[in-house]
Symmetry: C2
Subunit: 277 residues, 2 copies
């Protein structure tokens, strides 16, 4: 039997193998400097941290270990956001509490030490984040471990950080809301048809059509993120049309990374709920 | 830092991702009943057994655990032979003795209990093996755990079994000879050019051109295996020509599985020797 950490690792692999996943690296598409193999190595490297998340290690420490291991490859940041989502989900699953309420409780109980682990994780890899919004009163994550003293002085927990970031970030919203989109899309994966890589692609398309992608908003602005969402909604789950959209997004430099993070979370939930690959 | 077990898992993933790999599942090719995703799940499932191989667990017990975990997916046997090669290599690497002499010593020290673990592993998955050759005086592996009593009575070690099988089986030859082909091809991976999946494909092509594949010999006869070797030699490491050969082999039902097993071993050695993905 695969453990929750195994299922999280498999979710990372199925996420990147899912094709076509417009704008992201998939089984058939990659960029010169960010290739499929980097995601394979990232998935393997994250293993020890994911296994730590099954135990009493703090969420922040497990996440930092995941990111440090993930970063041991030449492509840079491959799965930072995926791991941010997977760590509390693995913890909830290991405690046999994998439900929106159960994982929200894991997140809500995170501490100041967890917030420090989260900031330290940014030192291991170059994460694509923009300038913090003017109304977001938390230390710039790009400061990494240098922000730890301020986090401690202000007594900010990881939950606090995610709650403050939720208006701007799709992963933070999922984190503080009990992963509603991940659980919902997981049902579609379980009930869906086709191979595992097709189901992963449809999960991605469903999530992309649901809400504007945060990373696209950071990199290209909110209007572009709304446009991407609308174009994904027009495609639906038609994989041939999605392949055309993938060519367009690559040409336009559109990379809906947050949607990939949520896809990994949805695939994990599906695997834990009995999806047989 | 990735541990030897991590590198073995990554070798499994890079092996299947390597493309084009004529006749085998790769990043761009699969069969209806044996798909890319089954190899991803097999790699994850083997993780606990590979980690056991880093410790004092016996080679046979670690191998059986690998195979049991690998088999938890819908494609049947994905990586039995790969794991047979990787387990002693992981053990040697964990003891900082990853050399032909070091791994041969690990293999030579295997016991009757290891042989029993090897036979039990056949109960977890349907391995493509033919009738044993008339001159091979060992219990039919297809008997699985039922053969354990006979193995014990005759005092056969896993080394004994591999030595007896070496004339008929490329993996057994590699096992008893100190993995000479794996170490040699690993040098080419380290010194080669191109992406990781291209290097994996070239490693496969070099091995396929080197000796007739044992699985092709079992499934199609020794003449077919010699023909496959010659055609691979004509292609060399030209990946465009290899893609054409891949189409031919799929049409002919040619599946050089033993060569994939050796490729995984070569990729593992390259990773342990500093190949940066």
């Amino acid at each position: 039997m695969r453990t929750p950490a195994d299922n999280a690792q498999l979710a990372l692999l199925l996420e990147v193998a899912g094709t076509p996943k417009p704008g992201n690296v998939d089984r058939h598409r990659e960029y010169d400097d960010l290739r499929f193999e980097h995601f394979l190595a990232g998935s393997v490297g994250a293993g020890a941290g994911l296994r730590a998340a099954e135990t009493d290690a703090s969420v922040g420490a497990a996440f930092e270990e995941c990111v440090e291991g993930m970063s041991q490859q030449g492509g840079g940041n491959t799965q930072f956001g995926c791991l941010l989502n997977l760590v509390p989900l693995v913890r909830a699953a290991a405690a046999e509490r994998l439900s929106p309420t159960g994982v929200r409780e894991v997140c809500r109980r995170t501490t100041v030490a967890d917030a420090c682990g989260f900031y330290r994780a940014f030192d291991h890899v170059d994460v694509a984040v923009g300038d913090p919004p003017a109304d977001l009163d938390v230390p710039d994550v790009r400061r990494g471990a240098d922000a730890v003293d301020e986090i401690r002085e202000r007594g900010l927990t990881l939950w606090d950080l995610m709650e403050l970031s939720a208006p701007h970030d799709g992963n933070a919203r999922e984190w503080t809301d009990g992963f509603p989109r991940s659980f919902s899309v997981a049902d579609g994966v379980l009930d869906g048809e086709g191979t595992a890589t097709e189901r992963a692609a449809r999960a991605f398309l469903e999530l992309l059509a649901g809400e504007p992608d945060s990373l696209v908003a950071v990199q290209h602005g909110p209007a572009a993120a709304r446009d991407v969402r609308a174009r994904a909604a027009a495609v639906g789950t038609d994989l041939d049309a999605a392949a055309e959209l993938a060519d367009e997004f690559v040409a336009e430099g559109i990379n809906p990374g947050t949607t990939a993070d949520l896809t990994a979370a949805a695939l994990f939930v599906a695997l834990e709920r009995g999806w047989e690959v």
